[in-house]
Each structure stands twice: as structure tokens, then as C-alpha cells.
């Protein structure tokens, strides 16, 4: 990875200011980015304490003013986790229909859930409208799994799915992040429920950890970490079940996982159903094949990890 002079200049200016304002303990450095984007710098600062967001924004504003003439594009975001989810009742505005002036239907009628998110000491409430269409999709999924459906357990299972939906939303970083302080209302509709209900939260976390670890971006430090560890342990990357256990812990926390509940690959893998275990191994193997095809230099650098 090559760090350009302007990247270095902006990085140093920001780090110095974070240090002087005693903000470094709240900075998630490994999830933050400083990228030269051709004449300018893109900065993503990730914060583990929501009450410090404004102070971080002030640091970026001050550095922008200090580096006049240099284009600095920035995102400052907090890491949020889901603390609780509760059922409220039928959406007070009869769902989404009144917002958009469209006829009432299963796509637009909704029930409301409320979730509390926290980022360090800061908490915020968000509202999630689950459309009736989403409930139907969930019931279909439960019937497919031959699970019993009653009014009471449907609410409980939906709360779990709302939690998984929020974890998914909060797991995205970069320009795709969700700011729950500014956009408090979410809709969990039929297609989203189908996506969320397809796999368990543990599967999604493991899938995401695999994707981030095997990402071929130049600035991905997780990949050499994994390959070095596999080489030292004499485990081949082609032995998916064993290799999965060596996914770096960093891939399971911070900005990679918004609402992290699992700390490592072993914990996540144990929570998978038998079918999901097969699926996740297939996913891992296909990402490894892609890596071998497109990154021969990495394969040559870590021959032990790639031996058959």
C-alpha cells in the first residue's frame, strides 16, 4: 500500500488534532480511512462514542480550514449497536400509505417496532415500520421451516428479524453508512424481510467477515494477516472448515459489524445450521478461488497458505 504525501499530510493533521483534544480513545483507527482520490483526500473517521461525534466533526472542519486549497471530502460516523427492540402496535399513520398518497395494501400497511441503539454512552431511538407484506414473507419462511406460528411468537420472531435488519443496516461503512440520528425511520418491507429471513445473523456476520478478510483492495490489511496466520499454523486455505477459524477477530468488530454480537469465527460457525455450514464453506471457497485467479502475486507470497 502506497501512502501519498497529501494523504500523509491530512492524516497527520487529523491525528495531531485528535491527540491535542484528547479524542484518540474514541477513534476507531483501523476502520477509518484516508485515501488520495486524485488531487484530494477522502477521509472517513469512525467514532466509538456517539457523544463525541460533534467534536470529531469540528476536528475535520478545522483541518479543512487549515489545508485550504486541498480538497478534503469527509464522513464522520459512529459505530452503533442494537440494545433492544420492542413492539409498539399498528402504525399510527396506518403505515406508509398516508405518506405517499398510495392505496392501502399489504405493501403499505404496517406495524411499528421501536429500537434503542447505543454508541458508547449515547443512545437513540429508531422506529421501524414492518409492512404486512413483510409479515407474510416471514410466515412463509416459518412454514417452510415447519415452525409453529402464533400471534405471540410471531411478534417475538419479528423482533429478532428487526434486530437482524438493524444489524445489517448498521454494518455498512463508507458512503453507505446509515446515520440513525438524522434518519430515524426505517421500513422493513417484504423483499427486505425475504433477504433478512433467508439466513441467520450468525451467517451474515461470518459471510461479512469472509468478504472483508478476502477483499482484494490494496488497503486491506486483514488478508495478509489471515494468510500469515494460516502459514504459521500449517493450515491450507483450501480446508475451509479449519481455515474459517483463523479469520481475524478484527473482521468481527468495529465498523465491519455494526451490531456485533459474536466475537470470532468459531463462535459464529457453531451457531450455524447444518445447511448454513455447507453454504458458508461454499462461499468461502468461491472467494478463495476468485483470489487465486485474480491475485497470483499474493498466492506466490504465501505459498504455504495456498498449498493443496
Amino acid at each position: 500500500m502506497t501512502i501519498t504525501m497529501i494523504e500523509e499530510k491530512v492524516r497527520n493533521a487529523i491525528i495531531n488534532m485528535l491527540q491535542s483534544r484528547k479524542l484518540t480513545p474514541f477513534w476507531v483507527s483501523r476502520s477509518s480511512q484516508f485515501l488520495d482520490v486524485g488531487g484530494g483526500v477522502f477521509v472517513e473517521l469512525v467514532v466509538n462514542e456517539g457523544s463525541k461525534l460533534q467534536e470529531f466533526e469540528e476536528v475535520v472542519a478545522a483541518v479543512k480550514a487549515e489545508c485550504k486549497g486541498l480538497e478534503i471530502e469527509s464522513i464522520v460516523r459512529a459505530v452503533w449497536v442494537v440494545e433492544s427492540v420492542r413492539y409498539i402496535g399498528l402504525a399510527s399513520n396506518l403505515g406508509l400509505a398516508s405518506n405517499h398518497g398510495i392505496p392501502l395494501s399489504a405493501d403499505t400497511l404496517a406495524d411499528t417496532f421501536e429500537a434503542i441503539l447505543n454508541s458508547g454512552s449515547r443512545k437513540t431511538g429508531v422506529r421501524i415500520d414492518v409492512t404486512w407484506d413483510a409479515f407474510e414473507r416471514l410466515k412463509e419462511e416459518l412454514r417452510r421451516e415447519s415452525r409453529a406460528i402464533s400471534d405471540a411468537n410471531l411478534v417475538e420472531i419479528t423482533k429478532e428479524k428487526v434486530n437482524d435488519f438493524l444489524v445489517l443496516q448498521l454494518s455498512l461503512g463508507g458512503t453507505s453508512y446509515w446515520d440513525p440520528l438524522r434518519y430515524r425511520d426505517r421500513v422493513l418491507n417484504g423483499p427486505t424481510m425475504a433477504y433478512v429471513a433467508l439466513h441467520s445473523a450468525a451467517y451474515r456476520q461470518l459471510e461479512s467477515a469472509i468478504n472483508y478478510t478476502l477483499d482484494q483492495s490494496e488497503d486491506n490489511v486483514l488478508l495478509p494477516d489471515l494468510l500469515r496466520t494460516l502459514s504459521n499454523a500449517a493450515v491450507s486455505i483450501h480446508n475451509a472448515e479449519d481455515a474459517l477459524q483463523f479469520l481475524p477477530a478484527e473482521a468481527f468488530g468495529g465498523a465491519y459489524m455494526g451490531g456485533e454480537v459474536l466475537e470470532n469465527a468459531s463462535g459464529a460457525y457453531q451457531k450455524l445450521s447444518r445447511d448454513e455450514k455447507v453454504l458458508i464453506k461454499t462461499h468461502f471457497q468461491s472467494r478463495v478461488e476468485e483470489l487465486e485467479q485474480l491475485q497470483p502475486a499474493i498466492v506466490a507470497t504465501f505459498p504455504k497458505a495456498f498449498r493443496n
Binding site: I75, G174, S217
Partner: protein
């Protein structure tokens, strides 16, 4: 030079047109999602431009993405300016960065890309309405 009414109306018409085009459905493919995100940003750019024109901000101070954001920061809030910057970056990713879909955070998962894009478009609409309601009111009252 166009009258103030014609200018505000012109940008607002563009803004509404772009917003109407900024849609993603359950079958949208990568390029359609990218195009919608880009249109959503331009809707926001034009509506905020109309809003600033309504307040007699000269074109030189709103004719460029960065200058326009600076004016929004002064005349609305730093949060509104930060939201504009974020959507500008999303639009840059959507228009120019091939890795936006193939690399983090979507890793070629088209369903995840679509679903998050739908939410981002909804977030853009939330911002859009904050300007649009003012502009609509003034245009309807004939006070421009």
C-alpha cells in the same frame, strides 16, 4: 437574465424530475441502482440551488458543489451541509467507482445493494422535502 421566478421554477422542475427518476425496484440491476443514486443527488442539488436562488444567493456562490454546500452550511445547518456532502460522495461512487458494487461493503451482493440504495434514496427524499416544501410554498404564493 431569467427572472428570479423563472430561475427558481426552472431548477425546481429539474429537481422534481430527477427525484421522480430516482427509483430502485426489486429487479434493478447494478447500473440502474447507480443511475438512481446519481439522480437522487442531482435532485437534491437542484432543489437546494432553487432554495438558495429564492434567497437571492448569487449563482457564483451556488454554481459548484462545494460552494453550494458552504452556503447551505451558513443558511441552514452544518448537518444539512454534511448530508449534502455525503450524498455527493455517494453520487461520485455511483458514477465513477467500479468497486462500489464489487468491493466493500456490497461484495457483488445485488440484493443488499438494492435494499440499501432504496433506503439511501429515502434519506435523500427526507433532505429533499426540507427544501422543496419552502420552494413549493413560495412558488404557489407567487411571492417570488
Amino acid at each position: 437574465l431569467p427572472s428570479k421566478h423563472a430561475e427558481v421554477n426552472g431548477y425546481f422542475r429539474l429537481a422534481e424530475g430527477f427525484m421522480a427518476a430516482a427509483t430502485v425496484n426489486d429487479h434493478s440491476m447494478e447500473i440502474e441502482v447507480r443511475r438512481a443514486l446519481s439522480a437522487g443527488y442531482y435532485a437534491l442539488l437542484h432543489v437546494s440551488n432553487a432554495w438558495l436562488a429564492m434567497r437571492n444567493v448569487p449563482l457564483s456562490r451556488r454554481g459548484h458543489h462545494t460552494a453550494l454546500r458552504d452556503e447551505i452550511m451558513k443558511r441552514r445547518t452544518p448537518e444539512a451541509a454534511a448530508a449534502l456532502e455525503r450524498f455527493f460522495l455517494i453520487r461520485k461512487d455511483a458514477d465513477y467507482r467500479p468497486g462500489m458494487f464489487r468491493s466493500k461493503p456490497y461484495f457483488s451482493d445485488i440484493v443488499k445493494f438494492r435494499l440499501r440504495a432504496m433506503d439511501m434514496l429515502e434519506e435523500m427524499r427526507v433532505e429533499f422535502e426540507q427544501y422543496a416544501s419552502d420552494v413549493r410554498k413560495q412558488l404557489a404564493a407567487g411571492s417570488i
